[in-house]
């Protein structure tokens, strides 16, 4: 797994546009003009949704890629933030919702979700490696059953609905275009933050813990504290995305944090690739496209549209089998092959 990327040269100041590589520049411009060229459905249900899922998967990528902790609890953390946004803010169930303004409810929701995620992490790091996946899966499932059975706080099976995004600065943030830019901004910030942290001392120490925990402990690093801090950081990202998720859907129910979605997040991260923060977003776009259009594809192939899960499962199996690093791995393998001379197999000069 590639650990760090080469630092860009520091010759020009950070605001200099020419420092940005061309392909990033193109991607950025395309992302910015999408609401102008695409219809509302695509903007909302494909791109905004993919950014949110990608951000949640990014938090998993951070834990798995830099800390080797495959946590299945990230969707639950996002779900806790979503529930808390509905509980502190406004929803149709006014016996439960406190009706506080969004600028109180949202930070509180993110804080609660971060605390929840940190506590789950503190439990999960009691054991190591492969056990993490079992413990976090158990936490996610327990939370799902709790939310489904509890009516006093979570309104049980039906959940909380009519959770609307706020209206401020004269903009209704629930409209497709403003919401698109909001989720794009959050996704970009989360991406930048993860890239920054991955090269900051904390991120480097975390990668050291991943590679050899015993040696890092001998060097004087507190291994457990680093791991828990990684959970806290990832939970913050996932919680922020969870607030967006409840605004996008307008409601939150046990189905949001069921084990299926939790595993979907893992699939997104793994299919995209967990060695680089861009992977989860690639995976999320692919997942959302599949999810939206699989029905038509399956029907055109003569299969019933209900076999969507089968398609996802088989695709996931294929990716795990053939590439250790998802789409990113396939891409780098392809580039490597393209660089080699087809006859001699030697590297070509560029």
């Amino acid at each position: 797994m590639a650990v760090t990327d080469e630092r860009e040269a520091f010759q020009s100041p950070w605001w200099d546009v020419s420092r940005i590589p061309l392909h990033l520049f193109v991607v950025g411009v395309v992302l910015l003009i999408i609401p102008l060229i695409a219809n509302d459905f695509i903007v909302r249900q494909i791109f905004s949704y993919a950014f949110i899922l990608g951000t949640i998967a990014l938090s998993l990528m951070f834990l798995a890629g830099y800390g080797n902790m495959v946590s299945l609890v990230q969707m639950t953390v996002a779900g806790v933030a979503a529930y808390m946004t509905a509980i502190f803010g406004t929803s149709a169930i006014d016996t439960i919702s406190l009706g506080w303004p969004w600028w109180v409810a949202v930070p509180l929701a993110i804080i609660v979700a971060t605390i929840f995620g940190t506590l789950s992490g503190a439990l999960a790091v009691r054991t190591e490696g492969i056990y993490t996946i079992m413990i976090t899966l158990a936490i996610a499932a327990a939370m799902f059953y709790l939310v489904r059975q509890n009516y006093t706080l979570f309104n049980g099976f039906s959940g909380l609905n009519q959770v609307n995004a706020p209206v401020f600065w004269g903009v209704n943030w629930r409209d497709p275009a403003p919401f698109y830019y909001l989720s794009l901004l959050i996704a970009a910030l989360a991406y930048g933050l993860v890239r920054y942290v991955s090269r900051a001392p904390f991120g480097l120490a975390l990668q050291g813990v991943r590679d050899n925990a015993r040696r890092m402990a001998a060097l004087g690093f507190n291994v457990t504290a680093h791991r828990i801090a990684a959970y806290a950081f990832a939970s913050f990202i996932a919680g922020t995305a969870g607030v967006l998720l409840v605004w996008l859907n307008g409601q939150v129910s046990p189905g949001t944090i069921a084990v299926g979605p939790a595993i979907d997040i893992l699939i997104i991260a793994v299919v995209g690739g967990i060695s680089h923060p861009i992977g989860p977003f690639l995976g999320a776009i692919l997942y959302v496209l599949l999810r939206t259009f699989a029905l038509d594809v399956l029907v055109s192939l003569g299969l019933s549209g209900e076999r969507f899960q089968l398609l996802i499962g088989l695709g996931f199996l294929a990716v795990v089998f053939f590439s250790s690093d998802g789409l990113l791995g396939l891409w780098s393998r392809f580039r490597e092959r393209a660089r080699r001379d087809p006859v001699t197999g030697e590297r070509r000069e560029e």
Binding site: I135, A138, A142, L146, T152, V259, E306, F316, L317
Partner: protein
């Protein structure tokens, strides 16, 4: 045991006292004051028996899981799917032939063959890559779940018990005193659950004997401790792996038939039993059969008593046990023998 009592006299006294109270609560008729606080004794006894029989079912599922994990370090997240497949196969067999006992054989064989296929075709190719194996099991569980949904649909299936096992049996346990005649009322309990409990205990003891008293069991235990060393001594470890995977998967299949008999088989059950085996194994200790037994008993009791006395928080109780165990004994109550 004597040494434990010598070392911790106060703790031992507390344990003995707790056991005595439990025995008294089970066998003696309850005074009216206690019934006011705890509810009727019949409810308590039913919760106790349901908890123990549910624990027996959990033990059957989780022991296969923990055996596979202990030997191959493979967290088989498709274990719940194997359980559910066993339930469906058992239903089809019992429906087609009318033999309840035959459905156990069929479920064991079919699911064990599937387990062998998984081990030979999939897991052998990625030995040593724990994470990859686990991810693959997630993919497999999604695929199997959807295939089963395709074949059997979303209906509930219940395997009918044969006539010689239907109906309740009266146990020599007093639930209360009849107001009119003054006679004791005894607990009536479904006989099929008792038979299943006895069978689960028998399987557990047989497994313990096989692991500790036979040559194959010795190989398995050695493999749990150090599989590289074992294969270096000339044992064909792949055969041991296949055997253990087949047996663990087959146990899940048998458990599926049992679950389908006293509950039902439906989509979503795979997840429930996967979660149950995860929690049981985490609580009991990974890779340890006695640990699985203890964990299953604890979780089964917690679930039943929780759903009787605190319905909203039954899951939380189960979860709380897991949290406490992880906090104080992260290796599980009975860690795998080292």
């Amino acid at each position: 045991m004597v040494r434990y009592a010598e070392r911790h006299p106060i703790l031992t006294a507390i344990w003995v006292l707790a056991a005595a109270v439990l025995l008294w609560a089970i066998f003696a008729p309850w005074p009216a004051g206690l019934e006011d606080v705890m509810g009727r004794k019949k409810i308590f006894l039913n919760a106790l028996f349901n908890g123990v029989t549910l624990g027996a079912l959990y033990f059957l599922v989780a022991s296969g899981f923990t055996l596979i994990f202990g030997l191959m370090k493979n967290v088989n997240l498709a274990h719940g799917s194997l359980y559910m497949l066993g339930g469906y196969i058992g239903y089809e067999t019992a429906n087609a032939t009318g033999w309840w006992l035959l459905s156990f054989v069929a479920a064991f064989l079919v699911v064990a063959v599937l387990g062998i296929l998984l081990q030979v075709v999939v897991f052998r190719r990625m030995e040593g890559q724990d994470l990859k194996q686990t991810l693959v099991t997630i993919g497999i569980s999604i695929v199997i779940a959807d295939l089963m949904l395709w074949i059997w649909g979303g209906d509930f299936y219940t395997i009918l018990t044969p006539s010689w096992l239907t109906g309740p049996v009266e146990l020599p346990l007093i639930t209360g005193v009849s107001r009119r005649t003054g006679e004791f009322i005894y607990l009536k309990y479904p006989i099929v659950r008792l038979v299943i409990l006895v069978a689960a205990i028998a399987i557990g003891i047989a497994m313990w004997l096989a692991l500790n008293r036979t040559r194959i069991g010795m190989l398995v235990r050695a493999g749990v401790d150090d599989r590289d060393m074992l294969s270096a001594t000339g044992v064909r470890i792949q055969r041991v792996f296949i055997l253990v995977f087949a047996f663990g998967a087959g146990l899940a299949g048998i458990a599926g038939v049992i679950g389908g008999t006293f509950q039902s088989v439906a989509p979503g059950e795979d997840l429930r039993f996967l979660l149950a085996s995860l929690v049981v194994v985490i609580v009991g200790g990974m890779g340890s059969i006695p640990g699985a037994a203890l964990g299953a008993l604890l979780i089964g009791l917690a679930e039943q008593f929780g759903s009787v006395y605190a319905p909203t928080y039954a899951v939380v109780l189960t979860f709380l046990i897991m949290v406490l165990v992880l906090a104080f004994r992260p290796q599980g109550l009975i860690a795998a023998g080292r």
